[in-house]
Amino acid sequence: MLTFAILFPLVGAVLIATLPKDQERSARVIAAITAVIVLGVVAYLFIDYDRGAGGYQFIDSTTWLDSDISDFDLNYAVGLDGLSLPLVLLTAFLGLVSVLISWRIELRPKEYFVWLLVLETSLLGVFSSLDLVLFFLFWEVELVPMFFLISIWGSGNRVYSAWKYVLYTFLGSAFMIVGILTLGFTAGTFDIRELAEFGSFDDAIIPAWSIFTLLSIAFLVKMPIVPFHTWLPDAHTDAPTAVSVMLAGVLLKMGGYGILRMSFSIMPEQASDANLVFAVIAAVSILYGAMMTLIQTDLKRLIAYSSVSHMGYVLLGASSIGLVGLTGAATQMVTHGLITGMLFALVGMVYDRAHTREIGELRGLATRMPFITAMMLVAGLASLGLPSLAGFAAEVTVFLGTFERHEALTIVGVIGVAFAAGYILWMIQRVFWGELDPKWAELTDATAWWERGPIIALTAAIIAIGVYPAWIMDLLRDGVAPIAERLA
C-alpha cells in the first residue's frame, strides 16, 4: 500500500511521457488524477494508522542488493510512524496543490508534469525510507526534477539558481554519504530502526562527533540554517510557483526530518552534547531571516527569508532535546509547510496577473483581488502566529519546550515572532491596501476552480490545525517520543 503510494506518481509520469504530441493538454489531467489517487491512498493510511500501537506501520521490506562478501547489503524498506506520516500526508496534499496551480502552464507541459510527479515520488520516498541508503537514494533523486523544473520553467536568473540549489544540496549530501557509510560499517546495518537501537558509536573508525557532523551538515543546508541558506532566496525567487510551493512546503522539511530521524535519533549522545550549538544557530537563523525580510523588495524573496526564520524554530525546538520541544519542532514543520506553501501559491497568482513581484510597484490590489487579499491575510496571520491558526500551536509548543533549557535564546525566538508580525502586516499593507494604482485597474481576482480549490483546502487545513491541533500533534508527539527518550 505504502509502496504503491510512493511509486504511483512514476506510473503517471510514464503515462504522460508516452502521450502523443498533440495531446499535451491531457498531461495535466493525468497528473491531477495521479495526485488525487496518491492523496487518497495516503489519507487512507493516515486514518488506518493504529495510534494505540504506535511505532512503524505499513512496513514493506525486501532485499534489494545482497552482497556476500561484506556488509554492503541494501534493503528496500519503507514504513511510517507518527513523525513521518503527517509529513507524507503533507507531501501528497501539496503534491496535488502544485499540480492544480500549474493548470495553465504553457511551456512544455508534458515534461513539466513528468518532473513534478517524479519529484513527488522522491519526496514520499525520503519520508518513508527505513534504510539509510534508500533514504539517501531518494534524497538525491529529488535533485534531478528540481534541477530541470527551476532551470527550464523558472524566471529571472533561473539557470544560476537551479545550479546553486543543486550544488549546495549535493555538497551536503556528499558529506552525508560518508557519514551513512561509516554508521553502516560500524553497526553492520543500514536499517534505521536497528541503528537507532545500536547505542554508542564511540568505537567507530572515526570519532563519533565527526560522524554526527558529516550527517548533520546536509540537513542544516537543506533546512536551511544561516549561513548555509543563501541558495534558498535565489531558488525560491526564480522557481515557478508550484515548485516554490513544493520547495517551501516539503523540501525544507527533508532537512528538519533528517535532523530528527537521523542525527538525533541515531546519535542521541552527540545530539545532546551539541544542543547549545543548535540553539545558537537556530536563534541566529530566526533573527537573521526576520531582519532580512525587512529589506526585501521582491514578494517571493520576502517570503523566502521568512522561511529561513521559521525553519529556525524547527531547529530551536529540536535543540530543547525534550519531548515538548521536539513535538513543537515537528508540528512547526507541518504548519510551516501549509502556511508558506499557501503564501507562495498566492504570490504566484499575483505575479501571474501583474507580471511583477516588486512590492514598490504593487499597491491597493485589494479592490481588484478581494479573494486573494482575504486569503493572503489568513495565511499571513497564520504565519505570524495568530492563535486559532496553525502557526500558533506549533510556535508556542516550541517556546514552551525550549524555554527551560535555553531561556535567553528562546526569548530571541519570541522576538522573531514580533518581527514576523511586522514584516507580514507591512507587506500586506503595502501590496494590497492603499489607493489602487491605475495601471493595475485591469487586474482580475482568482476565480478559476483550480486556483480557488487548492487555496480553500489549504485554508481549511490551517484552521483545522489551529482550532484543534491535537489531531496532528498527538501523532507527532508519539512519533518523536522515542527520540526524546533516547535523548534523555
Partner: protein, 492 residues
C-alpha cells in the same frame, strides 16, 4: 585443444580481425558505390566476431570451465571472463558507433580489424598470469591503438598519434623495468612464482618497492591517472570520437585489469602491500582533484570527458587502495573496482555515443554549441543527460551504485579521508557535467531544425542507457559477477 578452447573468446576476436582484412582485400574497389556497399558487410563481420567472443565466454561460463592454459601463461577464471565480456561488448558497441564515421573513410577494413585486435589484446591483458604474456598483450593492444588514433590522418590526429606513441613507448619501458626487478628478485616470470617469493620475502624491501613504483608508473599511463595523464586531453581530442570512447572505456579498464592482476596476484601479500596501497591512495586523491579541476575549465566536450576520465580513474583507484590498506584479503575493494569498471563502461560509452551523434549534426564539439539540443532532438538529449547524471553519481543509475560501493570500500578499509576527498570531488564533477545538461535543456538553440541520430547510434545509445538504469535499479547480477571476479584473488 583444451588450451585453444579456453582461449576461444580472444581467438574469436583475432580471427574476426583477420577475416575482415582478407575480405577487404578480396572485394573489388570500384567507385564510391561499391565502397559503401561493403560497409555493412565488414561492420557486420566485426559485430559477429564480438558476439562470437562474448558467446564463447558464455559457453565457458555455462559449462563451468576454468583453468590455466599454455603452461600457466594465461588463466581463465571469473576475473578473466568478466573482462572478456566487457571487452567484447565494448568492441561491438564501438563498431556500431563507428558506422557513421566509416561512411567517410577509406580504411574501413583496417579500422574494424584493428578494433578487434586491440580488444583481443586487452582481453589477454586481463587473462595473462605471466609477465611475458602480459607484456605481449600490452603491446598488442598498444600498437593497434596507435594506428587507430591516427587513422584519419588529420593534423590534430597525427599530433595525437605521435604524442601517444612516444609516451606509450616510455611507459612501456618503465613497465618493463619494473617487471625486470620482479624477475631479478624472484627468478620467475609467472605471477604465482613471484607471489611465492614476495609473500615469504623479508629482505629486499626497497627493491620490491621500486618494482611496485615502476609498475605503477608504467601502467598508470594505461589507467590514465595523474601524473601519467599528459597524453589524455590531446589524444582524446585528436582521435576519432569512437576511438576516444574505446580508449576511455576499454583501454582504461584493461589497464586496471592488469594492475589488479599483477598487484593482487603477485604482490598481494607480504612486506610491500601497504606501501603500494598508500601509493595508490595518494595517486587516487591527486588524480581526482587534478582531473576534476581541469575538466571545469574545458570548452571542448571531448577534452572535458578526457579530464573527467582522469578523475574517474582516480575514483576507481580508491577501490584498489582499499584492497590492502587494512587487510590484504578485503575483497570489497577489488570487487568495487571491477563493478565500477563495468558500470563506467555503460555510462561512458553512452555519453560518447550521444556526443558522436550530436556533434555530427551540429558540427561542433564545443559545449556552448550544445545549447538547446533538447529542443532539436529530445531523446538524444535525454540519453546524454542520463549518462551525465550517471557519471555524476545520481540515483537510480549505475553511477550511483558504483560511487556508493567504492566509497563504502574506502570506509571499510579505514580510508575515510580518501572517501571525503572523493565525495568533494563528485561535487566539483557535478558542476561541469550538469553544465552540459543545462546547456542542452535550459537554453535556446540557434536553429530549430530537428535531427535524429542514425539508427546504429540510436540503438547503441539506447542499449547503454537501458544498461545503466538496469544496473542502477537492480545491481545484484553485476555485483555478484564482480564479487566472483574478486574472489579469484583470495589466497591461502
Amino acid at each position: 585443444m583444451d588450451d585453444l578452447h579456453l582461449l576461444g573468446p580472444q581467438l574469436a576476436l583475432l580471427i574476426g580481425g583477420g577475416l575482415i582484412i582478407i575480405v577487404d582485400v578480396l572485394l573489388p574497389i570500384a567507385g564510391r558505390e561499391a565502397y559503401l556497399q561493403r560497409r555493412p558487410l565488414l561492420s557486420g563481420l566485426a559485430i559477429l566476431a564480438a558476439a562470437g567472443s562474448a558467446g564463447w565466454s558464455l559457453v565457458l561460463v555455462l559449462t563451468d570451465e576454468r583453468g590455466e592454459a599454455f603452461d600457466g601463461m594465461i588463466a581463465v577464471d571469473d576475473f578473466t571472463l568478466f573482462f572478456n565480456f566487457l571487452f567484447a561488448g565494448v568492441a561491438g558497441v564501438i563498431v556500431l558507433a563507428s558506422v557513421d564515421f566509416l561512411d567517410r573513410h577509406r580504411f574501413q577494413g583496417e579500422y574494424l580489424a584493428l578494433i578487434l585486435i586491440a580488444a583481443a589484446g586487452m582481453s589477454l591483458m586481463a587473462a595473462g598470469t605471466d609477465l611475458i604474456m602480459i607484456f605481449i598483450a600490452l603491446e598488442l593492444q598498444a600498437i593497434a591503438l596507435f594506428a587507430l588514433v591516427g587513422i584519419s590522418k588529420s593534423a590534430s590526429g597525427s599530433e595525437a598519434t605521435l604524442k601517444f606513441l612516444l609516451l606509450s613507448a616510455i611507459s612501456t619501458a618503465i613497465t618493463l623495468y619494473g617487471m625486470a626487478y620482479l624477475f631479478g628478485l624472484s627468478g620467475e616470470t609467472s605471477l604465482d612464482g613471484i607471489f611465492e617469493y614476495v609473500s615469504n620475502a623479508d629482505e629486499n624491501r626497497s627493491a620490491l618497492v621500486l618494482a611496485a613504483v615502476f609498475l605503477t608508473a608504467g601502467l598508470g599511463f594505461k589507467m590514465a591517472v595523474v601524473p601519467f595523464q599528459m597524453w589524455v586531453p590531446d589524444v582524446y581530442e585528436g582521435a576519432p570520437t569512437p576511438i576516444t570512447a574505446f580508449l576511455s572505456v576499454a583501454s582504461k579498464a584493461a589497464g586496471f585489469a592488469v594492475v589488479m592482476r599483477i598487484f593482487l596476484a603477485a604482490l598481494g601479500e607480504g612486506i610491500v602491500t601497504t606501501d603500494w596501497a598508500y601509493l595508490f591512495a595518494a595517486i587516487a586523491a591527486v588524480s581526482m582533484t587534478v582531473g576534476n579541476v581541469l575538466a571545469l575549465v574545458q570548452g571542448n566536450i571531448k577534452r572535458m570527458l578526457g579530464y573527467s576520465s582522469i578523475a574517474q580513474a582516480g575514483t576507481i583507484l580508491i577501490g584498489l587502495a582499499a584492497v590492502a590498506a587494512e587487510d590484504p584479503q578485503l575483497l570489497l575493494g577489488t570487487s568495487s573496482v571491477v563493478f565500477f569498471l563495468g558500470a563506467y563502461a555503460f555510462t561512458n560509452i553512452g555519453a560518447f555515443i550521444a556526443i558522436i551523434a550530436i556533434s555530427h549534426k551540429i558540427g561542433s564539439d564545443q559545449i556552448d554549441d550544445y545549447a538547446g539540443v533538447a529542443k532539436r532532438s529530445p531523446l538524444l538529449a535525454l540519453g546524454l543527460a542520463a549518462c551525465l547524471f550517471s557519471l555524476t553519481g545520481f540515483p537510480p543509475t549505475a553511477g550511483f551504485i558504483a560511487k556508493v560501493y567504492v566509497f563504502n570500500a574506502a570506509v571499510q578499509a579505514d580510508l575515510v579521508w580518501l572517501a571525503i576527498i572523493g565525495v568533494i570531488n563528485s561535487v566539483i564533477a557535478a558542476y561541469y557535467y550538469l553544465r552540459v545538461v543545462l546547456n542542452m535543456f535550459a537554453r535556446d538553440p540557434e536553429t530549430d531544425d530537428a535531427f535524429l541520430p542514425s539508427p546504429y547510434l540510436g540503438a547503441a545509445l539506447a542499449a547503454a542507457v537501458v544498461g545503466l538504469f538496469a544496473i542502477g535499479i537492480y545491481p545484484t547480477p553485476l555485483i555478484e559477477a564482480s564479487e566472483s571476479a574478486a574472489r579469484v584473488f583470495v589466497f591461502g
